[in-house]
């Protein structure tokens, strides 16, 4: 076999291509950097809770539409991250899906919505209510079969939330237990993951956002909400304050918010965003 190499021709071709590539890269960078320089003044960065992020994103879109020239970047990652980023200045506003703790006095919290946390089981499970003591014993591993609480002879699959999740903190506080005492079979992250886990395992018990659970039940997902302390786990009961296990969804800032952040927070707390809150299955305060 003989190979002849068309060196000169292909080198010329290559140089032409390189030139085109360099020019287009330069053009992209040039065009790219310009809006960045302009947008800098009116840009807000909001980071934190993955539960609050979709709601904030929708509020931010509406805000951008009604306030020309503003840009709001919403990033997710969890409440702990929202607190950290607000503290060290990476974010103008943090998102936290629980009330602020006494150790977080340096932050200002602004409630934008409420969210109840409901215990859910598979809908083939005949159990409709559990007392707080029973739930506690199930999560501590003292009760391991549904028979002990009036259900069928079926092993209980305990679904717990991952460390750093606000729902977990709220759950632990309500039942007065430490996470290290809990004997989970499954550890999950977001709400949807909890619903998917419980709907797929007949003996499972878990806890998720009530609005999400209500919606999934209506769509026919095989889950069931348990009554707590005699109160049905419904959005209405969260709104009227009767349901015992609920949390606030907050925007937080380090110290007093900047003028621009304050403007956005006021908008997020106004009636103009009520329909957005309900659309994300939360309860307007």
């Amino acid at each position: 076999m003989l190979f002849s190499i068309t060196s000169a021709h292909s080198m010329a071709l290559l140089f032409r291509r390189l030139k085109v590539a360099t020019c287009s890269l330069a053009a992209i960078l040039l065009i790219g950097w310009q809006p960045f320089a302009f947008a800098e003044k009116s840009r807000l960065t909001i980071t934190g809770s993955s539960t609050v992020a979709p709601l904030t994103l929708e509020i931010a879109k509406l805000y951008e539409k009604t306030h020309a020239g503003t840009r709001i970047d919403v990033q997710t990652g969890g409440s702990s991250r929202g607190i950290n980023d607000a503290r060290n200045g990476l974010a103008d506003i943090g998102m936290v899906s629980r009330a602020l703790k006494p150790t977080e006095k340096d932050l200002n919290g602004f409630t934008i919505a409420l969210d109840g946390i409901g215990m859910i089981v598979h809908n083939s499970n005949p159990v409709t209510a559990l007392t707080d003591a029973q739930i506690k014993d199930i999560y501590l591993g003292k009760i391991t079969n549904w028979q002990s609480v009036g259900g069928p002879d079926l092993a209980i699959t305990v679904v717990n939330k991952a460390e750093g999740r606000s729902t977990l903190e709220l759950f632990l506080k309500h039942f007065g237990v430490r996470n290290s005492q809990i004997k989970p079979s499954v550890v999950i992250g977001d709400n949807q993951q909890g619903i998917k886990t419980v709907s797929g395992v007949k003996g499972a018990i878990g806890y998720v956002s009530i609005g999400t659970a209500e919606y999934e039940e209506k769509r026919g997902t095989p889950i069931k909400r348990l009554t707590m302390q005699g109160h049905e786990a419904s959005a209405a009961n969260v709104a009227n304050g009767q349901y015992p296990l609920s949390r606030t969804l907050n925007l937080v800032t380090k110290g007093a918010p900047s003028k621009q952040a304050q403007h956005f927070i006021t908008f997020a707390q106004s009636d103009a965003v009520k329909h957005l809150i309900e659309k994300q299955f939360f309860v307007a305060p």
């Binding site: 190499i5 068309t6 071709l13 790219g32 929708e58 990033q75 977001d190 999934e216 769509r219």
Partner: protein, 287 residues
């Protein structure tokens, strides 16, 4: 008894064939199952406006136009950084170092270790280095560069093995023709290693396009149309993850997006293959 042992052997042989075929069938069925599930649940939601419009209501309605743009930009940055560096390192490893010298072995081992690191670690590194230390923030640039770091080891390794597999006669032939070392690499060795480069590129594109963990903390969550490479942009895989795990009632849109993602990967792979084929075939003429 020779007849009995012969039938035993035949039986064992048949069992073995059945087992091997079962393995092959298992893999095929799994693939068909996954694809079928996505096509059945996703294809019905695909419309032109879904592909071009902006997402609304946290992604439940609207489309994925802006997210597609972000995904492609992130991929361009990643490949733009990874291909030249990767080819450079691969050429250096196979042509410029003594095979099995201590230094090239060390570099090789480092690459293998890097290839095995979970993507979330690359994400944390990218967030710490590109986003915070270099000040790129949540941006397509820092997401793309993080992905470049992630796909480099596997790309280098495949290219290097392709180059090493080129017959030594070709190197000698180039030398005999008086070609410089760089011309020999550019005109003879790289085109000869093209199949391996394609394989590395396809692996890289697949990994980068399907990546979630490395991008959530680097290119971010913003689903608006990116105005520049310094804007945050949500990648398709991040969008699918958020819709299926975090957004109530987002399943339909998640399936449709997954369908688009798979189509995109197939399209990109065939394009990459034909581009490299054309590019390299222009430089070697068999006569």
């Amino acid at each position: 008894m020779p007849s009995r042992s012969a039938s035993n052997i035949r039986l064992a042989d048949q069992c073995f064939s059945v087992l091997i075929m079962a393995c092959a069938a298992f893999v095929t069925i799994t693939l068909i199952w996954v694809l079928g599930d996505i096509v059945i649940k996703g294809a019905s939601h695909i419309t032109w406006s879904f592909i071009t419009s902006e997402p609304s209501d946290a992604g439940r309605s609207g489309g994925i136009g802006t997210i597609l743009v972000s995904t492609l930009l992130i991929l361009c940055v990643a490949l733009g950084a990874a291909i030249p560096i990767g080819l450079g390192v691969a050429v250096w490893l196979s042509e410029f170092t003594v095979q099995h010298s201590r230094f090239s072995n060390t570099v090789g081992t480092t690459l293998d270790v890097l290839a095995g690191i979970p993507s979330i670690v690359y994400g944390l590194f990218g967030n710490a280095f590109f986003s915070l230390y270099l000040g790129l923030g949540f941006s397509i640039l820092s997401g793309g560069l993080t992905l470049a770091c992630m796909i480099l080891p596997i790309f280098i390794r495949t290219c290097e093995s392709g180059l090493s597999a080129v017959n030594n006669d070709w190197r000698k032939g180039a030398q005999a023709l008086g070609m410089s070392r760089s011309a020999a690499i550019w005109h003879v060795l790289l085109p000869a290693a093209a199949p391996a480069i394609i394989a590395g590129l396809i692996l890289g594109i697949g990994r980068a396009t399907a990546e979630t963990a490395a991008l959530i903390f680097t290119s971010g969550y913003v689903d608006r149309m990116p105005g520049s490479l310094l804007d945050s942009g949500r990648a398709l895989a991040v969008h699918i993850y958020d819709l299926s795990m975090n957004v109530t009632g987002g399943d339909n849109a998640a399936y449709a997006s997954a369908f688009v993602l798979i189509t995109l990967i197939i399209l990109l792979n065939t394009t990459a293959q034909s581009l490299i084929d054309r590019w390299f075939s222009q430089r070697i003429y068999a006569s």
